[in-house]
């Protein structure tokens, strides 16, 4: 590992060479920044990974079954396992998807599950991302460049190769392809994750397309090629649900494909991930995932949720209001590290105001115990310091199998006093090593 640390500068030069950046809008202008990389990897032992792998597969299988149920029979609601309110009032629930069964019944093909490891050694799930989770491209390219800069490190350590992500993605797309080309659909050059969109298209051998490149005729999607239009069989879309089809969702959207929903409903195109998945990764629904696992699979959840309270339930609300100074409160409608408030960081007056808002809109919030999660070492100005870090694991589900990519995006906070690791909030990333023995 010392070899990697010694070559930090070269690795970062390589990352710059390949334009490993993310975009951010600041003061109304688009800026691209290099995603800060720390050479010290997160290391996960073989035994630990086996547990994580089983737990992640279990969780994503249950979430897929939940989505199928919610847009179909709704047994989990009629059986009273989840209150209807949490489904129908979720902004991620799309009534337009009612009755639609995607190709092979898979809803979340590429899931990003965020975890942290507590100081007690237990992994906790922080949140599920089943819509358009981003981040796989960064550890994918970083591993390639680390191997180049410090081959000795990888000769000496039994690290599972993670460079097959493009093939995995291709296999997942092919499994739901209805006949035609695979497409990665991007909002365009000025999207925060454009590097990722173009890199994953290249790695998976898909065509990168944006609005105007695709159109729907006779409930079939076509790619407008100068060599004759080509049928599209699967779309890995990196555009939010509401902008994907202006004839079904937001009519003002200029970045979607008019009538796409008709092709999807007819089963003429595979959409990765399916529309309407937001209902399952809603922060309010998170609380119920262990119950889903038990309900659909008849199993105990292998991985733990962070201890969570729903102010929707009067008993939980009482607890939350009494312990606001020690809890972290999350607005269920927000993402990307926004809408997260640590009670300990508020003044008495701010706490009182928050308590009032929670009491008035209890469905809008969840509250969690602050997990004292393990810090990871990072290099800062040549010194090794400890910072908070999480892990986003990527789980790929085809019609045939669900697999976990043996890697993941480890993000860390560069602020010593912060738990927020998102790149949009100044965080960096690390490679994630899974040991093969």
């Amino acid at each position: 590992m010392d070899g990697l640390v010694r070559h930090t500068r070269q690795i970062n030069q390589q990352l710059a060479r390949y334009g490993v950046k993310f975009g951010i809008y600041k003061n109304g202008t688009f800026q691209e920044r290099l995603f800060p990389f720390d050479a010290i990897p997160r290391v996960i032992s073989h035994e630990e990974w086996q547990v994580l792998e089983r737990g992640l597969i279990q969780r994503v299988r249950a979430l897929n079954l939940f989505l199928k149920d919610i847009y179909g029979e709704k047994r989990i609601l009629s059986d009273g396992v989840i209150p209807e309110d949490f489904v129908y009032r979720s902004p991620g629930y799309l009534p337009q998807c009612e009755g639609i069964v995607p190709v092979k019944g898979v809803y979340s093909h590429i899931s990003g599950i965020d975890l942290v490891k507590g100081k007690d050694g237990v992994w906790y799930i922080l949140e599920d991302n089943l819509r358009i989770p981003s981040g796989a491209s960064y550890p994918l390219i970083a591993r390639q460049l680390c191997r180049r800069c410090s081959p000795e490190t990888f000769r000496q350590n039994p690290v599972v190769d993670n460079r097959g992500y493009g093939r995995l993605m291709r296999r997942t797309m092919d499994s739901v392809n209805t006949g035609g080309i695979n497409v990665v659909f991007t909002p365009g050059r000025y999207n925060a994750a454009y590097f990722e969109h173009s890199y994953l298209a290249e790695q998976s051998g898909a065509v990168l397309a944006e609005a105007g490149d695709l159109y729907v005729r006779d409930s079939t999607v076509f790619y407008r090629s100068t060599q004759g239009d080509q049928r599209v069989g699967a779309i890995y879309r990196r555009v939010s649900d509401e902008y994907m089809d202006p004839l079904t969702f937001v009519p003002e959207s200029l970045i979607g494909i008019p009538n796409l929903m008709a092709a999807y409903r007819a089963g003429n195109v595979g959409i990765l991930n399916a529309f309407g998945n937001g209902v399952a990764d809603d922060k309010g629904i998170y609380y119920f995932v262990p119950k889903m696992i038990s309900y659909y699979l008849g199993e105990e959840a292998i991985l733990s949720n962070a201890p969570t309270y729903l102010p929707f339930y009067p008993e939980d609300q009482r607890y939350v209001l009494e312990h606001l100074d020690t809890l972290v409160v999350k607005d269920v409608a927000e993402a990307g590290g926004y809408g997260v408030v640590f009670g300990s960081g508020l003044t008495a007056q701010q706490r009182q105001e928050l308590a009032g808002t929670i009491a008035a809109q209890p469905r809008r919030f969840i509250a969690q115990e602050v997990i004292d999660f393990q810090d990871l070492p990072i290099l800062e100005d040549g010194e090794q310091v400890e910072r908070k870090a999480d892990l986003r694991a990527f789980v790929l589900s085809s019609g045939e199998e669900t697999v976990v990519w043996p890697s993941g995006l480890t993000r860390f906070s560069r602020n010593p006093h912060s738990f927020v690791v998102n790149s949009s909030q100044g965080g960096g990333f690390k490679d994630t090593w899974i040991l093969s023995r």
């Binding site: 710059a16 060479r17 390949y18 334009g19 390219i141 080309i181 990665v184 050059r189 454009y194 173009s198 890199y199 298209a201 290249e202 898909a206 065509v207 990168l208 397309a209 105007g212 490149d213 790619y223 407008r224 090629s225 100068t226 060599q227 080509q230």
Partner: protein, 223 residues
């Protein structure tokens, strides 16, 4: 076969144009930096006039600096580098990451040059990176038609600069013939009137004024 849309075709074409523009202009400006050592300077007002860009400079030295590095000026080389990289970035899966990396490196070298007291060293890297880009592009892009769209862009830019600036006029016929040869392999449909003038000139069939030829070359793909 790689599939391209009209918009990608357009980007491939402009990628070629901007890469050629940067390459040619950096070469000229490196020579000018050398002349400035001896106190001589380029007639920058004539340069701007011939190039068809506004002359907003106050001295040869100011011209060398700002024409190269002023990113707020859309006519600067810095802006051309941004456009070159911008067109490349949206073509990653067509041209490949290793090829795109050379554009990224040229962009990085341009930034280094801007902050260097000896800008010609990193400017040389800009030229090296563009040459490496061309080689990598040739090697990575399998489909000849796609390669030729970008090469047509380069060729149009080269001829446009030759005509505007009077550079290497003796090579004009050969460059026009190369352009027609590439154009034929792209399957693109240029403006027929413009193509007629360019073809006539390339074959030496009839005398064409410099201005008419310039307008025709620039008008090949004008909408």
């Amino acid at each position: 076969m790689d599939s391209v849309t009209l918009s990608k075709q357009n980007r491939l074409y402009w990628l070629g144009r901007y890469a050629e523009r940067v390459y040619a202009a950096v070469q000229v400006l490196m020579e000018e930096y050398d002349r400035l050592i001896d106190g001589e300077g380029l007639d920058y007002t004539a340069f701007c006039r011939d190039m068809g860009i506004p002359c907003v400079y106050i001295s040869a030295e100011d011209f060398c600096r700002r024409y190269l590095f002023d990113g707020t000026n859309p006519h600067s080389i810095r802006s051309a580098v941004e456009s070159m990289l911008g067109n490349g970035m949206v073509l990653r899966e067509t041209i490949s990451s290793p090829t795109l990396a050379y554009l990224q490196m040229a962009h990085g070298a341009m930034e280094l040059a801007e902050h260097s007291d000896a800008p010609c060293v990193p400017l040389q890297w800009v030229l090296d990176d563009i040459m490496a880009f061309r080689g990598s592009f040739d090697d990575s892009v399998e489909e000849e038609r796609i390669r030729n769209i970008t090469k047509t862009g380069s060729q149009v830019e080269r001829i446009s600069l030759m005509l505007r600036m009077g550079w290497h006029r003796e090579r004009l016929d050969r460059e026009l013939q190369k352009l027609l040869n590439r154009l034929y392999k792209t399957g693109l449909q240029p403006n027929p009137q413009a193509l007629e003038v360019v073809t006539a000139c390339a074959l030496g069939n009839e005398p064409v004024s410099r201005q008419q030829l310039l307008e025709s070359v620039e008008g090949l793909f004008a909408v």
